[in-house]
Amino acid sequence: MIEKLLHKYWQGESSQEEEKQLRELLQRDDTPEEYWKYREMFAFYETESGKKRQKKQGIFFFLGKTNRRLWQIGISVAAAIVMLVYLNLDQPPQEKTTFSDPEVEFAYEETKKALMLMSQKMNGSKKHTRKIRKVKSLTDVFTIVNKTDNRN
């Protein structure tokens, strides 16, 4: 009997009833030793397939066909948004102006340019040194400032 049921099971032809029957048969004390190995397996299968069926029924019961559709759409939209955000985060920060008022921004840029020019000239721009008649270096600069300190 067990042999027959097992055969049916492996063929995928057994019904739920037959599987249940098979399980019961296997669990019995007088089951031949050769079938003992199947005991746990069928105990396991019973539970799993039973669970699966219950689950399936549960979902269907909860959502219904239309709602499930909406959920699918909702989740894919959410996923798309998450992807967009994630991709945008990777982009380098865009260079923005420091000041909202463009005139202030312009004045700021001009100030920086002027400072840069002054600084470069101070550092002795090499461009015009072909015929230098009179040059004082920055070492003299510091000397002059120090002299002022002593005066005060």
Partner: protein, 183 residues
């Protein structure tokens, strides 16, 4: 005592007391007024409140300017294409009160005359005004910074551009160390 206070108030109202904050009605302002209508000249005047606005913003990548801007109270500059570049240069040099301004650095070459002047500040190591004048065959440039300026902060801005500048700054640092040794 009362008389003294009245005298003080009187002097204040006449603005006879020396004041660091009093805007200089000097050669720079005069030149700027003179060329106000002249399209060949560009004039920029940055007020203390505008400088404060610059200083109040934290900026990435502009750190080399941050020190200088913090120290500044104002900026005036006039720049233009003119055949009279050398003449304006001489005008400025002659008009600036030499008791107030000290010559810092000068350079003459075939293209232009360059001069830096400073007005020393009460604070040691700082200047209250830094003036740069450049007179050339076809151009003139005059710029004045005021505030409590540390020359090294300003020199630092352009140092990465010029290897020569680096050498000068290094010599400057050596001098500083020497001075510390003396004290």
């Amino acid at each position: 005592m009362k008389q003294y206070i009245f005298l003080l108030i009187g002097l204040l109202s006449l603005n006879l007391l020396p004041s660091r904050l009093h805007a200089q009605n000097d050669i720079i302002d005069r030149l700027m007024d003179q060329y106000a209508e002249n399209d060949d000249f560009t004039q920029i005047r940055i007020s203390p409140s505008l400088i404060r606005l610059f200083a109040s913003k934290e900026k990435k990548g502009d750190e080399k300017f941050a020190d200088a801007i913090d120290q500044m109270k104002g900026l005036r500059l006039i720049s233009g294409e003119t055949a009279n570049g050398y003449r304006h240069f001489d005008d400025v040099v002659n008009s600036l009160d030499r008791s107030q301004y000290e010559e810092l650095m000068s350079m003459k070459d075939e293209d232009e005359n360059l001069l830096f002047l400073v007005k020393p500040s009460d604070i040691p190591g700082k200047v209250s005004e830094l003036i740069m004048v450049i007179g050339g065959q076809d151009s003139f440039f005059l710029m004045s910074l005021d505030g409590q300026l540390d020359l090294e902060s300003i020199a630092k801005i352009g140092e990465s551009m010029d290897i020569d500048g680096m050498e000068n700054l290094e010599r400057l640092e050596e001098l500083e160390e020497d001075d510390e040794g003396e004290h």
